[in-house]
């Protein structure tokens, strides 16, 4: 399955995942209480510079992923134009863009298996409470295996619908999809049991 890791191979891809995650968490926590516009502006510039150092193609991809924030930026702009508190609006918007861009940076430069390794390390202390990292790894593998399978099934159901209806597929395809998920769950449980179970 596709992941959100950037195909633009950068230096940041080689930085270890744990420290990257910690730095991003720290950065978001530090920026949140800040009210001074120059500080936020500086942080944004620094982050933009870091992107540019990592590469132009990478920067463009990162900018594209911030696009999902436009409705909120629009709402903020309209609201603060109305109330006249433009400075306060800029602080909120800048803070939001910084936090999202910083988090995206980690996602874009860290492969799924590196992320999973961090999670497994973090969860080790919980093993004594019955949270088995092996079971978690199995659950993750199952989701990655079966999301495309169910997506495929949804596509088949839509096609079967289209073959007999001029309209777009309706919610009627959801129940058969749920049944497929339930059946697959039973089959995989049996396959697991056939090879030794949990």
């Amino acid at each position: 399955m596709l992941t959100l890791t950037s195909a633009h191979e950068t230096a940041a891809h080689r930085w270890p995942a744990g420290p990257k995650l910690a730095a991003a968490a720290l950065g978001s926590a530090l920026i949140f209480p800040v009210q001074a516009l120059p500080v936020i502006g500086g942080a944004l510039l620094a982050l933009a510079a870091l992107h540019l150092v990592l590469g132009w193609g990478f920067t463009r991809e990162a900018a594209g992923r911030l696009w999902m924030l436009w409705p909120f930026l629009l709402v903020l702009a309209l609201w603060h134009l109305w109330t006249g508190e433009l400075r306060a609006g800029a602080v909120i918007a800048g803070r939001m863009v910084f936090a999202v861009a910083l988090a995206n940076l980690v996602t874009m430069t860290t492969r799924l298996d590196a992320m999973l390794a961090v999670v497994e390390r973090l969860l080790t202390p919980f093993a004594r409470f019955g949270l088995n990292p092996r079971v978690l790894a199995l659950a993750v593998a199952l989701v990655i295996r079966f999301t495309p399978v169910l997506l495929d099934k949804a596509g088949q159901l839509r096609q079967a619908w289209r073959a007999r209806s001029p309209k777009r597929a309706g919610v009627a395809i959801v129940l058969p999809l749920v049944l497929t998920a339930l059946d697959d769950a039973d089959h995989v449980a049996e396959a697991l049991r056939a090879r030794g179970g949990l």
Binding site: T3, L4, T107, L142, L151, A154, R168, L179, A185
Partner: protein
Amino acid sequence: MERNLTHIALFAALIAVLGLVPKIDLASGVPITAQSLGIMLCGTVLGAKRGTLAVLLFLGLTALGLPLLAGGRGGLGVFVSPTAGYLVGFPLAAFVAGLVMEKWRAPVGMAAFGGAFLGGLVVLHACGIAGMAVVLGKTLPEAAGLALPFFAGDLLKAVIAGAITQGLARVRPQALLSRG
């Protein structure tokens, strides 16, 4: 034990698929993304505990960088964006929907609608509105205004969740783990 795990994993995949399929028609010609319908169904079909775990697994994989959210979004960024409150609300919504289903011995369709309404509408939007208020620096009523346009669609989704759960109870009663 194996069945618990596979049900949780397959429903996590189902939530993703309902968000990733091109929009489907709700009633007459109103397209929706069905991701929150998936959240409701986790609760009403799997029950509170397994349903919550399925949602947590789905969110965990999203956070790790899989594009499983509606429209192929994902990664850590969405967890600090204005809609982060909705993500926090997802597992709570499934839990509440499952709990209503387990405790309220009404007919299946009725209980599933009640659970989906309370979890997928009340609890989910309460969390989502709180999140928007924090990130956008607005008061709760102001943030609620932003969520208002989505209430009608979500109410309809709760009705659909009720109908699907009832349909499932009819064709495959033993599959309804929330009433197991």
